[in-house]
Symmetry: C2
Subunit: 498 residues, 2 copies
C-alpha cells in the first residue's frame, strides 16, 4: 500500500509515498504502545509488524531510533518517585506496622515500573501476539546490524533491554525437541539449508543425505515460532569416531544403521541472528543423547567433530607478537640467552624451528621459525595445503599448539575457544585433534584445517560439567595430554640446559 517499493507508485511521487508509509507505520507503533488492552490490539499489532516489513532499511532505522528515544523512560516521573522513595524511612528489622510497609513496597514497585522504558509495552504485547516473538527477533537482528555500524547509546540500551526480555521468554523448558526429516515441510527444510553455518549445504542431494540413512537432525522449536527450529544439530551414525569432516559429509554408502556404534555430532547452527547472545543450546545435546540412546541401544559413543574457530586467530597473533619480541631481543642483546626474557616465549621446539628455517633459502634469511610459520600460514589461498613438504614440517607444531590452545588457553578461567567452552560446560571431554580434518576454505582459515573430537561419556556428563564449572578443569584423553606433556617436558629441558 504505497510503500514506494512498487514501480507503479515510484512513477508518481516516490518520496511522498515513502513518507506516508513511514508515518502510517509510526502511527500503528504508537497505537500498539498506547492503546488499552483489548482484542482489538491484535489488529494494531499485525498492522505494525506488516507495516514494518514494508519499510526500507533507512526507514526501519529511523523508526527504531524513534522507538529508542521517544518511547524511553518518563524521567520526570522517575525523579518524582525517587523523591517520594527517599522521603520514606527504611523499614527496620523489628516488626513494623503493615500499613507503612505496604506503602514502602508500593512505591518500590512504582519506581521499578517507572524505570521500565515505554517500549517495554510494545515488547510485552508482541510477545503475547501470534507471530510476535518471531517479529521481535527480526527487529533485534535489524538493531544489531545498525549497532554494528553505529554504536548509538539509546539504541544500545533498547537492545540490551530487548535481549533480557527475549532470554526470559525463550526458556529452554518451553523448547520442543523435533526430529527433522525429509518429510518435514519445504519451508522448514529451506531454513536448514539457509542457516547451516558450520558446513554449508551445497544442494538438495546434500540436504537429503543429511536427513537420510545413517543421519539424524534435531531442532529446538519454540511453540510461538512454529515450523522453524531456533537451533539445530546434525548427527552421523558411524562405526568409529570420524577424523575428518569429508568422511562424514561424503561417505558413500553410509554405514548401515545396525552397524553403527558411534553418534557423531558434526554441526550445530542457530537460525535467528536476532537471538544472538541468548543461550538456546542448553540441554540440547543432553536431550539428543538421551533420545538416541533410547532408540539405538547399540550406540555406545557420543562424540562431536567440531571446528576450532579461534585457533588460527590466536596462533597468528601469538606468532606475530612473539617473533617481533624475539627480533627486538636479538637485536638489542645479540648474544643474550633468549629464554631469560620474561615476555618472550619461543612457542616452537628447537627441531621444529630448524625444520622451518631450512625449508628454503628465503626462509633461512628470516629472523626465526615463528616468522617463517606466520609467513607460510598467511600465504594466499592457503597454498601450503598443497605442498607435502610444508605439511610435513607444519604438522608437529600446529598439532601441539592446537592442543595447548584447547586445553590451556583460558579467558576468565574458561576455555578461550567458544566451541570448546560450549561443549565443556555441557559436560564433554576433549578426546582427539585431527590433522587436515577440514580442508575447506573456512576450515583452513579458522584452524589450519584441524578439527577436534569432544566426547560425551554418559556416566560423566554431570561430573565433568561440575568440575569445569567450579575449577575450570578441562578433562582430556591421555593421548592429548601426552602431546602437551612433551611440551612441558621440552620447556623444562630448555630451562635446565640454560
Amino acid at each position: 500500500m504505497g510503500d514506494g517499493g512498487g514501480e507503479g507508485n515510484r512513477v508518481l511521487s516516490p518520496s511522498s509515498n515513502n513518507m506516508r508509509a513511514f508515518e502510517q507505520v509510526r502511527e500503528s507503533m504508537h497505537s500498539a504502545i498506547s492503546m488499552n488492552k483489548t482484542e482489538v490490539l491484535d489488529t494494531v499489532l499485525s498492522d505494525f509488524s506488516e507495516g514494518y516489513f514494508s519499510l526500507s532499511p533507512e526507514n526501519r532505522r529511523k523508526l527504531l531510533l524513534i522507538l529508542a528515544k521517544e518511547y524511553d523512560l518518563n524521567r520526570v516521573q522517575v525523579r518524582q518517585l525517587i523523591n517520594q522513595y527517599l522521603s520514606l524511612e527504611l523499614p527496620k528489622d523489628t516488626v513494623e506496622e503493615e500499613g507503612l510497609l505496604s506503602t514502602f513496597y508500593r512505591i518500590e514497585r512504582n519506581l521499578r515500573h517507572s524505570l521500565q522504558p515505554l517500549y517495554e509495552v510494545l515488547f510485552e504485547r508482541l510477545n503475547t501476539h501470534p507471530g510476535g516473538l518471531k517479529f521481535l527477533s527480526i527487529l533485534r537482528a535489524d538493531i544489531l546490524c545498525i549497532l554494528a555500524e553505529d554504536n548509538i547509546a539509546s539504541l544500545r540500551a533498547l537492545d540490551s533491554y530487548l535481549k533480557e526480555k527475549l532470554s526470559t521468554w525463550l526458556s529452554p523448558a518451553t523448547l520442543e525437541l523435533h526430529q527433522i526429516t525429509w518429510d518435514d515441510s519445504a519451508s522448514l527444510l529451506e531454513k536448514i539449508v539457509a542457516y547451516e553455518a558450520v558446513h554449508p549445504i551445497s544442494n538438495l542431494i546434500d540436504l537429503k543425505r543429511r536427513l537420510g540413512v545413517g543421519r539424524r537432525c534435531f531442532g529446538y522449536i519454540h511453540p510461538a515460532i512454529p515450523g522453524e527450529p531456533l537451533i539445530f544439530i546434525e548427527v552421523a551414525l558411524l562405526k568409529n569416531v570420524a577424523q575428518t569432516i569429508q568422511e562424514v559429509l561424503w561417505d558413500n554408502p553410509p554405514t548401515p544403521e545396525h552397524e553403527a556404534t558411534c553418534a557423531l555430532f558434526y554441526s550445530i547452527s542457530s537460525t535467528q541472528p536476532g537471538l544472538a547472545g541468548i543461550n538456546l543450546g542448553k540441554f540440547l545435546i543432553k536431550r539428543v543423547v538421551t533420545l538416541l540412546k533410547k532408540d539405538m541401544p547399540q550406540i555406545s559413543t557420543f562424540a562431536t567433530l567440531s571446528p576450532i574457530p579461534g585457533f588460527m586467530q590466536w596462533l597468528l597473533s601469538k606468532l606475530a607478537s612473539q617473533s617481533k619480541l624475539a627480533e627486538l631481543e636479538a637485536s638489542s642483546h645479540p648474544s643474550a640467552d633468549r629464554s631469560t626474557s620474561s615476555f618472550w616465549e619461543n612457542i616452537l621446539k628447537q627441531e621444529e624451528e630448524s625444520a622451518l628455517l631450512s625449508l628454503s633459502e628465503e626462509f633461512a634469511a628470516m629472523n626465526n621459525g615463528m616468522e617463517v610459520m606466520l609467513h607460510i600460514l598467511t600465504s594466499k589461498n592457503h597454498d601450503w595445503k598443497n605442498s607435502p613438504e610444508l605439511l610435513a614440517v607444519l604438522k608437529p607444531p600446529l598439532m601441539r599448539l592446537c592442543a595447548r590452545y584447547l586445553l590451556q588457553e583460558k579467558k576468565r578461567g574458561k576455555a578461550l575457544d567458544s566451541v570448546a567452552n560450549f561443549h565443556l560446560q555441557n559436560g564433554a571431554m576433549v578426546q582427539r585433534i585431527n590433522w587436515m580434518a577440514d580442508r575447506s576454505e573456512k576450515g583452513l582459515q579458522q584452524s589450519g584445517g584441524i578439527m577436534v573430537n569432544y566426547v560425551y561419556r554418559l556416566g560423566n556428563i554431570e561430573e565433568y560439567a561440575q568440575s569445569y564449572f567450579s575449577t575450570g578443569h578441562i578433562h582430556a584423553s591421555p593421548d592429548l595430554l601426552h602431546q602437551l606433556e612433551v611440551v612441558i617436558f621440552f620447556l623444562k629441558e630448555i630451562t635446565r640446559s640454560t
Copy 2:
C-alpha cells in the same frame, strides 16, 4: 529424607527431623539463588523443589516468608544508585555526547536491576528449569492461601512480582490447543475430573460421555507444563441451542454428529489455582470456533450455555437495600408518592408486587413485594423451586431483572457479571436467558437457576469485541431487548401517571 512425615522418623525425634529438613530446603533455596549459572544449578533447583514438597504447610509458610523478607531488595545498593543517578544531568533534547548518554543509560539499567528483588533470580531460574513453571504455580497457590488468611505486606509484594512474571511467561502465543479425548492419558483425564468447576463430573461414565460422540473437549497446554491443560473448554454438538444444562449433560442418546448444526460451549475451567488473575482464555474460544468450523462445516451456530455467577448476589443485595429504603420512606411520608425519592426504586412491576403479596397471609403482612421476594429467595434449600405456584409468580420478575443485570448493570463501563464480561470482550452477543436451566444447588444459589446463551457470530466477532471495548455497548438479541423495553416503558408510564 527425614522430613518427619514418615512414622519411622516420628518415633525418634519428629521436631528435630522436621527442623533439619526445613534447614536443608532453606539451604538449597539459598544455593538456587546465589550460585553462578551452570549446568549444576539444575540439581540444586530439583533439590529445592523436591524439598519444598516435603515440607509441612507451616514450614512452607515459614520458608516463603524468609524468601519474601530476606531475599528482597538490597536497599543500601538502591540508595547508592539513586544518589549516583541524581548526580547526573538529565540529557537534553539536543544531541549529547554519546559517552555521557551511555553512562546515563547504564546507571538507569543498574538502578532498574537493583530494584528487582533477589527472589527474581529464583523465579527466572525455575522458569528455565524443566518442571519449574509448574512448581512456581504451586508455590503461588500456597502464597495465595497464606495471603487469604493473613495479608502480610512483604508476601503480598512477592506475590504481585511473581504474578507479573507468570503473566509474561505464559504468553497465549505459546499455548497449544489440544483436543482432549478418551485416548489421553489417565493422568491428564484425572485433571479434567478434578478441575471441572462449572458442572462437576460425577463419575467415569459422565467423563466418557463428555469426551464421546457429540462432544468435544479442548485444552490449552503450555509446553513447559506438558500433560496438563491450564484451561479447558467443553463443547456439545446439538441440533439447537440448548436451554437447560440438564439436556446437555444427560441427553441420551446424543445427537448424531452429522445432524448437529450448533456447537454449544457449556463449560470453561482453569486447572491452576496458582495462576489466578492471569488471563489464559484469550483466543481460546476464537481458536476452537475456527477449528470446529473447519472440521464440521455444517455447524452454523456457536453458542454457550453459561452460568450467571453474580446475579443472585446482586439481586439479593438490591432487594434488601431497596425494601429497607421503601420501608423508611413509607414510615416517614406515609402518603407521599414513592416514585419521587431519588434513592428509592421499585424494581418490581405493580402486578408482580401484587402477585407476590397475595401469595399468602404471611406475605400480605410484609411491607412490600421486594421483602416477600427476598424472603422466598433466601428460604432454606431453595424450597421455592418445588412449588409451581411460587415459580409462576417468581418467573416474570426474575427473568426481567436478570436481563437487566446482564445488559445494564456495569462496573467501570463493563458488564458487572464476570462471565458476561469474558464472553463480551471475546466478541459474543447475549442471545437468550433460560428459566430453570440449572436446577443444581449451585445453579439456584448463583442465579436462581437461570442460565444464559451467548452467541458467537463468525462475521461479527471482531466488530462486537471492538464496540464493547470502546463504548461498553452490549449486543443483545431483539427478544432480550424486548424484555428490557417493557421495563423502560413501564417506568415511563409510572412517571407519567404521577
